[in-house]
C-alpha cells in the first residue's frame, strides 16, 4: 500500500515547486494543500509542524519540514 502523502505549500515557494516535482518524478501520488489564503490549512500546518515555513510534507503522519530530499527518500523508500 502506498503511503498517504500531503504537501502543504504555496504556489510561489521555490522549494515547494522542487518538492512536488521530485514526488512527481518518482511517481508518488500526493495531495497538495495550498495554504495561501486558507486559514484552516495554515492552522493545520502550524499545529502539525510547530512552525510556519513551507513546504511541509506529511507522510503518513511523519512530518518533514522543508524539501529534505534524503528524509523524503527514506520515508518513501525511494532508492
Amino acid at each position: 500500500m502506498a503511503k498517504s502523502v500531503k504537501v502543504y505549500s504555496t504556489p510561489t515557494c521555490p522549494w515547494c515547486i522542487r518538492a512536488k516535482q521530485f514526488l512527481q518524478e518518482n511517481n508518488i501520488d500526493f495531495q497538495n494543500i495550498d495554504v495561501s489564503g486558507n486559514q484552516q490549512a495554515v492552522d493545520e500546518l502550524m499545529q502539525k509542524s510547530g512552525q510556519m515555513g513551507v513546504p511541509v510534507l506529511d507522510i503518513e503522519g511523519e512530518i518533514i519540514v522543508g524539501f529534505d530530499k534524503e528524509r523524503i527518500k527514506q520515508s518513501l523508500g525511494i532508492l
Binding site: T12, P14, W15, I17, R18, S36, G37, N38, M52
Partner: protein, 303 residues
C-alpha cells in the same frame, strides 16, 4: 578521482547560464549548488528581463532550470561548497558531501540574506519571521506584518504583502525609503502600508509564534503588534569558501572584464562578484562571459 575541465559553483542566473554555455562548448563539467535559481527564485514580479515583459521569480527560475536540464548537465544539488583550494595544478572543491577536482572553476555562488542580529530572530525564524516573502507571504493572509528594510528587496516584499496581509508596516532605519521610484510609488499608494523611517528593530517577541516587534526611533521605544516579520535588509556574498581569492571590503570577489579572479583558472560571475549592479539579466550575462573565458583558458593552457 575524475578531473573535470570545469566546476561551476552555484545554480542561479549566473551559474545556470555558465552551464548552458559550457554544455554548448562540450566541456566536461559539473555544477554544484545548494539550490536552483538562486535569488531569482525568491523574487516576486520581474518586469525587466528582456523577452519577458512580465514573469514571476519562481517561473523564471523554472525556465532557467529547464534550459540547464536540456543539456543533461551533471548537477550536485543540495550540496554546499565548504572549501576551494589549489593543489598540484588542479583545483579541489570540498563540499559537505564529497570532494571534486577540476582544471578551472567558476564561482557563481551569489548572495544570501543578511540577518538582523537582534534577540528573538533565531528563536522565531520560521515561526513568523522569514527571509522570503515570496515563499511564506501567502501564510499571512489578513494578518498584520512588518517588513524590515528600505531598499528594493524590502519594497518588493511589501508589494507582495499588500495583496495578502491586513496591514504592512515597513521599518526602515534610514530617513526615507530607497529603491526604485516606480516601486516606492506603488508602496506609498497602497492603502494598508505604514512606513516607520529612522527606526530600528530591537527585538522580536512572542510565545510560540511572533506576536510583536520592538522598534526604536528618536521619540523612544514602542511595540508593533505583528504576526509576521519579513527581514529584507540586504545581502552578504557567499564567498567565504574561496579563502585565497581576492575580495573587496564587502567580501565580494574581485573580477576583471573577463571575469578572471586573482587566481588564474578561477573565474567568477553574478552577485558574488564586485560587479556594481546586481540584476538577474546582468548575472546571466556575466555567467556567459565567465564560461567563455574559462573555455578560452582551457584551450590556451592545453591540459
Amino acid at each position: 578521482m575524475q578531473i573535470y575541465d570545469l566546476i561551476i559553483i552555484g545554480a542561479g542566473p549566473a551559474g545556470i547560464t555558465a552551464s548552458v554555455y559550457s554544455a554548448r562548448k562540450k566541456l566536461n563539467f559539473l555544477v554544484i549548488s545548494l539550490d536552483i535559481g538562486g535569488q531569482a527564485a525568491w523574487s516576486g514580479d520581474i518586469e525587466n528581463y528582456t523577452g519577458y515583459q512580465f514573469i514571476t521569480g519562481p517561473e523564471l527560475a523554472q525556465k532557467f532550470h529547464e534550459h540547464m536540464r536540456k543539456y543533461d548537465t551533471p548537477l550536485k544539488e543540495n550540496e554546499e561548497v565548504l572549501e576551494l583550494k589549489r593543489s598540484d595544478g588542479v583545483f579541489l572543491v570540498r563540499t559537505n558531501k564529497s570532494n571534486y577536482s577540476s582544471r578551472s572553476v567558476i564561482i557563481a555562488s551569489g548572495k544570501r540574506s543578511k540577518e538582523l542580529g537582534v534577540p528573538g530572530e533565531k528563536e522565531f525564524k520560521n515561526r513568523g519571521l522569514t527571509y522570503c516573502a515570496t515563499c511564506d507571504g501567502p501564510l499571512f493572509s489578513a494578518k498584520d506584518v512588518a517588513v524590515i528594510g528600505g531598499g528594493n528587496s524590502a519594497l518588493d516584499a511589501a508589494l507582495q504583502l499588500v495583496k495578502i496581509a491586513k496591514q504592512v508596516n515597513i521599518v526602515n532605519n534610514t530617513p526615507a525609503l530607497g529603491g526604485d521610484a516606480i516601486m516606492r510609488q506603488k508602496v506609498e499608494d497602497a492603502a494598508n502600508v505604514a512606513v516607520f523611517n529612522d527606526s530600528q528593530v530591537i527585538s522580536v517577541t512572542g510565545d510560540k509564534f511572533v506576536s510583536a516587534i520592538k522598534i526604536k526611533d528618536n521619540t523612544g521605544v514602542r511595540d508593533l503588534s505583528v504576526q509576521g516579520v519579513f527581514v529584507e535588509i540586504g545581502l552578504v556574498p557567499n564567498s567565504a569558501f574561496a579563502g585565497d581569492v581576492e575580495k573587496n571590503g564587502k567580501g565580494e570577489i574581485k573580477i576583471n572584464l573577463r571575469n578572471e579572479t586573482s587566481i588564474p583558472g578561477v573565474f567568477s560571475a553574478g552577485d558574488v562578484t564586485d560587479v556594481p549592479e546586481k540584476q538577474i539579466i546582468i548575472a546571466a550575462g556575466e555567467g556567459s562571459k565567465a564560461a567563455l573565458s574559462a573555455f578560452r583558458y582551457l584551450a590556451i593552457n592545453k591540459f
